[in-house]
Amino acid sequence: MNFVFSSRAKLVSYILMIVGAIAIIAGFFVYGENHHARWWSNMMINGFYFLGIALGALFFYALHFATETAWAVMLRRVMEAVFSFIPYASVVMIIVFIGSTFHWNHIYHWMDEATTMQYVTAASEGSAHPDYFYSLEAAEKAGADVMANPSYDELIANKTMYLNKPFFWIRTLIYLATFILFGNWFRKRSLKEDEVGGTEIHMKGYKRAAVYLVIFAVFSSTLSWDWLMSIDTHWFSTLYGWYVFSGMWVSAMNIITILTLYLISKGYLKEVNSSHLQDMGKWVFALSFLWSYLWFSQFMLIWYSNIPEEVTYFIVRINEYKVPFFGMFIVNFALPMVVLMSRDAKRNPGFLIAMGTIIFIGHYMDTFMLIVPGVMEKMAFGWLEVGFLLGFMGLFINRVFSSLAKAPLEPQKSPYLEESLHHSI
């Protein structure tokens, strides 16, 4: 059966987008201080949150191929629709990075060359465009009369081999291109399989999925260092990449569950039974644990050792952002644990939707906490944040639903289709 993107759903998505657009435009003029720091952080929070959801869906898609998981075959089209959002979220990320590169925003402290250049000409120091030199030799060569640059930051300067604009852009473009290419590849083969059947496409997908998992295992870590960890340029944590990855994954499973339940409530996906639902619920439940485990491991080890250069990260968060910092941990850990523990809750659409909404907000707050404290000194949350989120939700719904409408909602000829149809636990 094909999904029809009803005019009502379309209207809702447009209204959300319009509300978002108004907030985004108004916010740009209202919150102009510090190079529109608040506005740009919101752009990044939403861009990354929805990119993470799409990437998590693509990861699970590859995982279900590589592990020969049959039950999830019924949800393939839903996952495909979610990861069809990768290109749109990528554009948002690129806009943020262009803004950083041209100093329209100061999300990345290290992109300011004032921090990495050791010398500055005495005459230009303090002016709008100072002349910097990275070494005395270079200054002598240019015949400039230089002094020590007061904004020089040795820790940041030492990282320039990795954190510099060209290399950052190369990495960013490689990540995004890889994700888009793999996403398109899987989608194309999945539609092709509907026509030709057989096992050949399936086996190719199995191999391609394994390759993607390897690539994503590396990229999920490096992209979190590049895009997120480098916001707090001085700070570092080896666990960071895995922690961010677990957040993406749980958010993705949550959205896939909600989307599936929506489709069922509209009379689609009739073959998805309560066992499928229970398995989805299990993933949300288990991944909430995984995320909490990684959150706790990172927090506890840094808190316990109390080494100044590491612990500052959490001091800022606890002093200035106490409520969202601990609040989101409780929401993302304790609530799913208590609510989704029982078998019946995982089979109950009402519970799953209610929990899903809370987790959706919880992990939005997690993404908020990854970005905002590194950009702004004080907590700020108001109509701008809500407007941004609503606008992006509208865009996400619009794009995902129109992708859903393009192909039959159930894969037609996967070798595991029968097994998935008869799924019973």
Binding site: E68, A217, V218, T238, L239, S305, P415, Y416, E418, H422
Partner: protein, 457 residues
């Protein structure tokens, strides 16, 4: 009715009936043991005795007989402890996590993997025990009421968390393993003719009669235990890693340790399962149950966990540079280029490079190569712990206290001794216990047996 896709590989080869499964698994218990078994258990027994001798010598003389010095205060002892605990991860992962993931291939390997887990955890427990020096005061690791003396354990110490984590893990693993054994013991009881053995297996089976109600409870309790055991699989090695990571020692204090240790533990555990099962399937003629596909699946787990460990090594290396912390960078430069560079490169080669050979289907489905590589992984994972522990300690902040660690014969003797005891126990298990979960295997014969699969399609 459960449906299995045609493209799934059968898990039980040949044209087996339910009766065949029973005879194939219980046969070795009923028949006389082959000479090879007596030879092996004698060798293992002698090594065990040697190990026990070394331990007694250690306890009666003192920790000084080890090669520890004031800079390297932890070396082989803790290396061996972490190595054994790590090996002890595969069993519960296979029986609990793979149960939750409904991986049916686990049924051919879970029983022996769980037995191995229990023996490995026992061997692990030896090391902190004897490391105390005065083992007769070992009960002080528990929070005891003050009547025992006004000594209260330090709840802030990860070493204490270890006591709780490992003892909980051990108890749950043991219960899990034993509950799985109950129906199988009952099957043995029903086949035994000698009154004494019948009596013994009857007692072991707790009067199991195979009623539907009992099976229903059996499945329920398995699921509950799996749910409890899964977080334990994570917690044990996370807490072991916190023994190091909560400190401020460069090379030890790093946030990736908990998940990376868990992955490494599963990695080494699966390697040990492979080492044991590849021999066992041949000797006990279980080739139809522990098939090439089973070995391939386990090798895939080895690639995945080995690669996770590899990513973690590289992450640590990168961040040690990225952090700009002088001590942190030095710790890692010293690891790969200092006096213990050979240990680092053995670790890298055995854990990260060679497991990648399993990407080739020819290699991961080859029994002999798998056997060799599984031992390589076991060696690599021992060196991983050695590298973490000794290279982080041996160069103190003050160069005047820099030193090296040289193991004494007691260090080596105790380690080899625990390997002997481990194999001694495993050989006993293989002789008197049903090495496959035969009643569970019967439940998949209809859908995953080779002949049945052919008929169904």
């Amino acid at each position: 009715m459960h449906k299995e896709a045609a493209i799934r590989t059968p898990l039980i080869l040949g044209n087996k009936s339910y009766h065949d499964i029973t005879s194939d698994v219980i046969g070795p218990i009923e028949n006389k043991a082959p000479t090879g078994w007596y030879v092996l258990i004698t060798i293992a027994g002698l090594i065990s005795l040697w190990g026990i001798g070394c331990i007694l010598y250690l306890i009666s003389t003192g920790i000084g007989v080890w090669g520890l010095n004031k800079t390297v205060g932890w070396a082989w002892d803790i290396t061996n402890f972490v190595w054994w605990v790590g090996i002890g991860h595969a069993g519960t992962l296979i029986s609990a996590v793979l149960l939750l993931f409904r991986q049916k291939w686990r049924m051919a390997i879970n029983r022996s993997a769980e037995a191995m887990t229990i023996f490995a955890v026992m061997m692990a427990a030896v090391f902190p025990g004897i490391h105390m020096g005065r083992i007769w005061l070992a009960y002080f690791v528990f929070p005891l009421p003050n009547q025992f003396g006004s000594l209260w354990v330090n709840f802030n110490s990860p070493l204490l968390w270890d006591v709780f984590a490992i003892s909980t893990y051990f108890s749950v693993s043991l219960v899990f393993w034993y509950i799985g054994l109950i129906p199988d013991f009952a099957t043995i009881r029903d086949r035994m003719t000698k009154p004494l053995t019948k009596k013994i297996y009857g007692m072991l089976s707790f009067g199991w009669s195979g009623k539907a109600k009992q099976w229903s409870r059996f499945e329920e309790v398995s699921l509950v235990l799996a749910g409890l055991a899964t977080p334990l699989v994570f917690s044990v090695h996370s807490i072991v890693s916190m023994d190091f990571a909560t400190s401020v020692i460069p090379g030890w204090h790093t946030t990736i340790f908990p998940p990376y240790f868990v992955s490494g533990a599963v990695f080494s555990g699966f390697a040990m399962v492979l080492t044991l099962l590849l021999v066992m399937r041949k000797v006990m003629k279980l080739e139809n149950y522990i098939t090439r596909k089973h070995v391939e699946y386990m090798n895939i787990v080895i690639i995945v966990t080995g690669s996770i460990v590899g990513v973690a090594y590289l992450t640590e290396l990168f961040i040690s540079w990225y952090s700009g912390v002088e001590y942190e960078s030095y710790a890692f430069i010293n690891r790969f280029s200092g006096p213990y560079f050979w240990a680092y490169w053995i670790m890298m080669t055995c854990n990260v490079v060679t497991p990648q050979l399993f990407w080739f289907k020819k290699i991961r489905t080859n029994f002999i190569l798998t056997f060799i590589l599984s031992i390589v992984v076991n060696i690599g994972m021992w060196f991983e712990r050695f590298v973490i522990i000794v290279t982080s300690l041996h160069r103190d902040y003050v160069p005047s206290s820099w030193s090296m660690f040289h193991p004494t014969w007691v260090d080596i003797g105790v380690f080899i001794g625990t390997i002997g005891i481990f194999f001694f126990l495993f050989l006993l298990f293989a002789r008197f216990f049903p090495v496959l979960a035969l009643n569970e295997l019967k439940s998949i014969l209809r859908v995953s047996g080779e002949e049945n699969k052919k008929e169904n399609h």
